[in-house]
């Protein structure tokens, strides 16, 4: 039959020649390969002592950002929650009161902002959906815990530390 891609290749099993059948040269070759590795530098990272650098595009724990004046960027528009395929994000919006201008950038802000870390799949769609550049997955690995309720991260864990502290 004519081959569709013209990439068809006829393979044959070549009979082993004498030295291949003698087995020992192959063993010597193998020994030399492992010996090369013996003198190679270990690639180990001794974990608790030294931590491995994450790559630039590693997606870890979320953080809610502040702007250059230390005001929270998030305006509780809900696009992140909408874009979240795992439905891990919930929030409650609130209106900014007089005297809170230094805390929130716009009139609307998130009074409650929770991410369920057990549901989150770290896809980064919230990051992409956010029009205010308020959420980034630039943190560390989410630490382990004992109770399911402890994996629901509120604003206390998500919002960046204030600038002047």
């Amino acid at each position: 039959m004519e081959s569709l891609s013209n990439k068809k290749k006829q393979l044959t099993i070549k009979p082993l020649n004498f030295w291949e059948r003698a087995y020992l040269p192959a063993i010597v070759q193998g020994l030399s390969i492992t010996m090369k590795h013996f003198f190679r530098k270990p690639v180990t990272i001794a974990y608790p002592d030294e931590k491995r650098e994450f790559s630039e595009n590693f997606r870890g724990m979320h953080s809610l950002k502040r702007d250059e004046n230390g005001k929270e960027r998030c305006t509780a528009c809900g696009l992140c929650a909408l874009s979240c395929p795992a439905e891990a994000i919930t929030m409650t919006a609130a209106e900014r009161q007089k005297g809170e201008e230094h805390l929130y950038r716009e009139e609307k802000y998130a009074a409650v902002y929770e991410i369920n870390m057990l549901r989150c799949i770290f896809c980064g769609l919230c990051e992409e959906a956010c029009p205010k550049e308020a959420i980034y997955l630039d943190g560390d690995i989410v630490p382990s815990d004992y109770l399911r309720k402890d994996f629901i991260y509120g604003k206390d864990k998500l919002v960046e530390a204030p600038l002047n502290q």
């Binding site: 020992l24 063993i27 193998g30 020994l31 390969i33 492992t34 010996m35 590795h37 013996f38 190679r40 530098k41 270990p42 690639v43 180990t44 001794a46």
Partner: protein
């Protein structure tokens, strides 16, 4: 025999026993460390400097673990199995010459526990007794898989003992003696047997791998098809004895190979050294050389372990019966022809 001689012999026995235990202990450490280096890892480095105390930690763990004797096992034989394994491993060291005689004043201290004139036969006898440890352990466990593993181990050991014995015969034709002390002496000054018997050495080496149950012939303790082999039912230090016996065996067989084929305690230029450093230090240097050779062999055992995958059982038997035995016989014939016509 004088009291002093008895004391010397007893001291030597204790020292060699201690050395073989320590070497076996640190072989486990070396095994892990060397495995790590071959795999670009670091290996144990937590216990003590460079992880040097790791064997002690392992030993402590082995002793502290719960000991289980299965309900339907034969209790007496269940305990005898590992004891026999380690006993036969340990008594092999008695005939190996660790160095030349040391002369202190008019006292001659031999660095060999006993130079019996059938040294090699003694070693072979002891080694073949080692099969009992495996076989009894597997049988007493009252477990199908253990028994299968034990039978495999026993048939493997017995098959490879044949070609081992045949490979040694060619060597004996060259040396003309069975005494290990004499064989070591004959190799003085570059008359190393490996130069006369390269094929014999290769056969002996392969058989030594099979006899010590090391990769690629570590079929007795395969995890995949027999759960764990003959020591499936063993726990705590009884399992430890089996594993430990393997390392002692490795040490002893390395020593035997070094003695039979690689000149034992002989090294180039030893006459000059002996003439210049005196009758005590000279032999001790020879002993150091002997141990260097032994350690090189142990390293080789481990090197091979991380290079070659395990044989399949039928391949193992094929190699033993169809390749090694005919090769060993051919080696005997060719050696005989050479001795008859060229010497």
């Amino acid at each position: 025999m004088e009291l002093a001689d008895i004391a010397i012999k007893f001291g030597l026995i204790v020292v060699i026993f201690a050395i073989s235990l320590v070497v076996a202990m640190y072989s486990t450490y070396a095994e892990r460390k060397i495995a790590a280096f071959f795999q670009d890892r670091v290996g144990p480095n937590r216990a003590g400097p460079f992880g040097m105390l790791q064997p002690l930690a392992d030993g402590a763990k082995m002793f502290m673990k719960e000991e289980i004797i299965p309900t339907n096992a034969t209790p007496f034989l269940f305990i005898v199995g590992p004891s026999l394994a380690i006993l036969t491993a340990c008594i092999g060291s008695a005939v190996i010459p660790w160095g030349q005689n040391i002369t202190v004043g008019d006292k001659v201290i031999p660095l060999q526990v006993t130079d019996i004139n059938v040294g090699i036969l003694y070693i072979f006898g002891v080694v073949s007794l080692g099969v009992y440890g495996v076989m009894i352990g597997g049988w007493a466990s009252n477990n199908k898989y253990s028994l299968l593993g034990a039978i495999r181990a026993a048939s493997q050991n017995i098959s490879y003992e044949i070609s081992m014995g045949l490979s040694i015969i060619a060597l004996l034709m060259v040396t003309g003696t069975l005494s290990l002390g004499e064989i070591a002496q004959q190799q003085h000054g570059w008359h190393w047997n490996v130069l006369y018997q390269p094929v014999g050495f290769l056969l002996f080496l392969i058989c030594a791998f099979a006899e010590t149950n090391r990769t690629p012939f570590d079929l007795p303790e395969c995890e995949t098809e027999l759960v764990g082999g003959y020591h499936t039912e063993y726990s705590s230090m009884k399992l430890g004895f089996y594993l430990f016996a393997e390392y002692i065996n490795m040490f002893i067989s390395s020593a035997v190979m070094a003695t039979l084929y690689w000149g034992g305690y002989n090294y180039p230029g030893m006459d000059w050294v002996a003439a210049h450093v005196g009758p005590v230090v000279g032999p001790l240097i020879g002993t150091a050389v002997m141990f260097a050779k032994v350690f090189a062999f142990i390293f080789f055992f481990m090197w091979v372990r991380w290079t070659i995958p395990r044989f399949r059982y039928d391949q193992l038997m094929d190699l033993g019966w169809k390749v090694l035995i005919p090769l060993a016989i051919a080696n005997i014939v060719i050696t005989g022809i050479f001795i008859t016509f060229f010497s």
